[in-house]
């Protein structure tokens, strides 16, 4: 390994509203180096990666690429300079072909007389796929026909069209089963052979030790240290990652996993729909039930089925009194509430005011003489709940589009609490939320549990599943694979094996 730095990051800081994601972070990656990056959720790993890849701009600090000042305005600029990144979330366009995805934004090379030469695109794409040992994916296939895993691999192929100088892998492996992972490891090895560099972000300590040369540890947006080669050892890495007061009570402290009563307040009976097969489970009163799985395992659809938004092919969802949930109106009458994973498009009406959003599912409660709804009662309801959950706002008439992610999420809670919901289905409740607010969300959940309300938490983040749930149900390819009970002994690795 020669000592030429590919990228030098100097004193980078970045804040999202009141939360500091990164504070004076410095990091150098040398040619041919595979650098790991690890830290708790919200420690700033992805933020740092996004800044290097041009998806975010730093508030302060400098970067140098091969010794020259480097400040990409967007990801396209970064990728032209040889930096490409693949992310955890899905980044393919599903309605077009594999080849079109791989060459999206680079079609100019294939245009003759104003017409795109799709034959040549397909040919080149296939060649690229073959070179990457992905020959079983055909260039002409429409992406939506591929599995989630293969889509991820298409993304990787896209990143390898031109061998990147620096390849950033942002927690991609959690979405990939072993086969896909192996392909990725092999590609990373290829890059190393060609003296290119990799920045590898993962939750999985064992994986990092296996793949990386060195590992940098982030905590609370600061670089704690970089461990070289054989200094990397699981126990040491863990204690460096954790080791601060807030961690101890970030999630729920108590180990008590007893629900308020053993009685099922909601039961899912043999639900079949799409990928979901014979899903059965009960939700007990006053319990937090965690549902864990990969993002395409069907658990997000399950959330919608429970709330009556998707009609199952067979099976049913019933509440305690035996009533079947057939649509969202029935669900709301039976005091269910649903927090969509897609907050800005489905859970919140962005251009409407805070008040209008909160009141919407509660209108029946506000009716006087059978139909009349006074502005005063609307305002009172909205204000009561916003105050209780300390939403940061000017007034309840403020448009929701102006709120931060965490505050929007609080509005969703207000909406359902305003309707006196007894059962809350939370689909990725802390998705895209700053660390500080995450904690607030966990405190709200704890408080609701204490009040005897029941929660189903669907999440792709294992630490919060482990930290918050009384019981955990794991899903794999649409089927329930295991049920865990709350325990401080429970390890992520143990749960993961039932998911992949």
């Amino acid at each position: 390994m020669d000592q030429i730095e590919v990228i030098q990051v100097e004193n980078i800081s970045k804040a999202f509203g009141p939360t500091k994601a990164l504070t004076k972070v410095s990091l150098d990656v040398c040619k041919g180096e595979i650098r790991g990056l690890i830290g708790e959720n919200g420690s700033g790993k992805s933020t740092l990666a996004s800044i290097i890849a041009g998806n975010l701009q730093a508030d302060d600090g400098e970067m140098f690429l091969f010794g020259e000042a480097f400040s990409p305005a967007n990801s396209l600029e970064a990728s032209k300079s040889g930096i490409s990144m693949i992310v955890q979330e899905q980044g393919t366009i599903n309605t077009i072909s594999v080849a079109a995805n791989i060459f999206a934004g680079r079609e100019d090379d294939y245009v003759s007389w104003g017409i795109i030469n799709s034959k040549k695109i397909n040919h080149d794409a296939q060649e690229l796929l073959n070179n990457l040992d992905l020959g079983y994916i055909k260039a002409e296939m429409i992406v939506s026909t591929l599995s989630f895993e293969d889509r991820k691999l298409v993304e990787i192929a896209r990143a390898f069209y031109k061998l990147p100088e620096l390849f950033i892998v942002d927690e991609t492996t959690t979405a990939l089963p072993q086969k896909g992972r192996n392909i990725l490891y092999k590609l990373i090895d290829q890059l190393k052979q060609s003296n290119k560099s990799v920045l590898f972000i993962s939750h999985d300590i064992e994986e990092l030790i296996q793949v990386c040369d060195n590992v940098t540890i982030l905590r609370d947006g600061q670089v704690i240290t970089t461990l070289q080669g054989n200094e990397m050892e699981p126990h040491r890495m863990k204690s460096l990652m954790v080791g601060r007061e807030i961690i101890d009570n970030f999630y729920r402290m108590n180990e008590d996993s007893k629900p308020k009563s053993e009685e099922a307040i909601l039961s899912v009976n043999k639900v079949n729909q799409g990928i979901l097969k014979d899903v059965c489970f009960d939700l007990k009163e006053g319990e937090i039930l965690g549902i864990a799985g990969l993002s395409d395992c069907g658990m997000h659809e399950l959330g919608k089925i429970i709330f009556g938004l998707i009609k199952p092919d067979s099976g049913s969802v019933r509440v305690r009194n035996g009533k079947k949930i057939t649509n969202s109106q029935v669900a709301i009458q039976e005091k269910l509430g649903f927090m969509s994973k897609n907050r800005d498009k489905e859970a919140i009406l962005l251009s409407l005011s805070i008040k209008e959003n909160i009141v919407l599912p509660c209108l029946d409660l506000l009716k006087k003489i059978g139909f009349f709804i006074t502005p005063r009662s609307e305002k009172k309801l909205a204000k009561t709940w916003c105050d209780k959950l300390s939403v940061k706002m000017r007034s309840v008439d403020q448009a929701c589009s102006e709120l931060s992610g965490g505050n929007k999420q609080k509005i969703v809670f207000c909406k359902w609490l305003g309707n006196e919901s007894e059962i809350l289905i939370l689909d990725c409740p802390t998705r895209g939320i700053d660390v500080g607010v995450k904690e607030a969300i966990y405190r709200i959940m704890e408080e609701l549990k204490a009040q005897g309300k029941s929660i189903i938490m669907i999440s792709e983040e294992l630490p919060e599943i482990l930290g918050m749930s009384d019981r955990i149900i794991t899903f794999k390819n649409g089927e329930v694979t295991h049920t865990f009970t709350r325990s401080s002994q429970l390890q992520e690795a143990e749960v993961i094996q039932y998911m992949i």
């Binding site: 509203g17 009141p18 709330f307 938004l309 649509n327 969202s328 109106q329 669900a331 709301i332 649903f338 969509s340 800005d344 498009k345 489905e346 859970a347 919140i348 009406l349 962005l350 251009s351 409407l352 005011s353 209008e356 009141v359 919407l360 599912p361 209108l363 029946d364 009716k367 139909f371 009349f372 709804i373 006074t374 502005p375 940061k392 000017r394 403020q398 448009a399 589009s401 102006e402 909406k415």
Partner: protein, 329 residues
């Protein structure tokens, strides 16, 4: 803790900045329609040498814009969902023809329930096509329009039919004013103080988010189209009173005038947050003054169309831009 306080301070000052910008935006959204009306009134009053605001002409504007007002106030409900009802004019024309025939054949008073019921029924058919048959709203209403135009023509057989002469006595300004006030109050009540308006408005922002808040999407769409249908029928009745009968051209310009009125009144054509019943009142005034002023000023039919088309384009461009600002996707 101290750090948190300063952060909150920062947030506060940023919010204050946002606040002033927001106020400006709110005010501009509310003032522009008034300003537009004022400019129109001053302009036409000047070039017609004060004729526009003469007592006689004001009564004329009131009577000419009456049906438009009734139709627009109901159209707010459909338009707040981000949809348009293109069949309103055709429904008004058809209901007008039915009412005239009923008045002649049975008794004058029958024309009132006939007009409203025919409109209501046609609106329900629109709603059925859209919610049960799942036709795109635009197509459903357009088809309804073509079918009704043919229907009106075959009902009338010729170019026009007359209502019974005795009904001329029915057009009394005082009654019409009282009715307009009651009607407006009813629409305000429905839109601002009941579930109906709030739910329709949320549909205009995002259908999926509305569904997840427990709104029966189909039922609400059905209701909205039934309402515009019934209101179009009522408008048809007043068009009959105004013109003394029904003609194949009755209601022809109503649809476009309604859409124009609502947008001129300060509501976004895509519905949602800016939806309000007052837009119908204000917009009707603008369109009526425009129609009347251009006739007074002696503009030919072609020029009138041209001016309206151009103004419509401008106002859509302006209002869409303002919307993009508020919806951050």
């Amino acid at each position: 803790m101290e750090e948190l306080n300063t952060l909150q301070e920062n947030e506060k000052s940023r919010n204050m900045f946002k606040n002033s910008k927001q106020v400006l935006k709110d005010v501009s959204g509310k003032i522009i329609p008034f300003l537009g009306l004022l400019v129109l009134v001053v302009f036409f009053n000047t070039i017609t040498k004060g004729n526009l605001l003469s007592a006689k002409n004001l009564t004329l504007i009131f009577n000419q814009g009456y049906a438009l007002f009734l139709a627009s106030a109901a159209a707010v409900f459909v338009m707040s969902t981000g949809n348009l009802d293109f069949s309103m004019g055709a429904i008004a024309g058809f209901a007008c023809a039915c009412a005239t025939l009923a008045a002649k054949a049975i008794a004058p008073w029958v024309s009132i329930p006939v007009a409203i019921l025919v409109g209501c029924l046609l609106g329900m058919i629109n709603g059925f096509a859209i919610t049960v048959l799942r036709l795109p709203t635009f197509i459903a209403c357009l088809c309804m329009m073509f079918i009704l135009m043919a229907g009106t023509q075959s009902l009338i057989a010729g170019s026009s039919i007359m209502m019974p002469i005795s009904m001329m006595m029915w057009e009394v300004d005082v009654i019409k004013i009282v009715l307009a006030v009651v009607y407006f109050a009813l629409m305000l009540l429905l839109f601002n103080y009941t579930k109906i308006g709030k739910q329709l408005k949320s549909l205009g922002v995002s259908i999926e988010a509305a569904r997840q808040s427990g709104i029966n999407v189909k039922k609400m769409h059905f209701l909205a189209y039934t309402l515009t249908g019934a209101a179009s029928g009522l408008a048809g009745f007043f068009l009959m009173l105004r013109t003394g009968g029904a003609a194949t051209t009755t209601g022809q310009t109503l649809t476009t005038d309604v859409i124009m009125a609502i947008v001129f009144g300060g509501m976004s054509i895509s519905g949602g947050a800016s939806s309000k019943v007052s837009a119908a009142l204000l917009g009707t005034l603008v369109v009526s003054v425009l129609n009347n002023g251009m006739i007074l000023a002696g503009y030919g039919g072609t020029t009138q169309q041209l001016v309206k088309g151009f103004l419509f384009l401008v106002i859509i461009a302006v209002s869409l831009k303002r919307d993009k600002d508020t919806i951050i996707k």
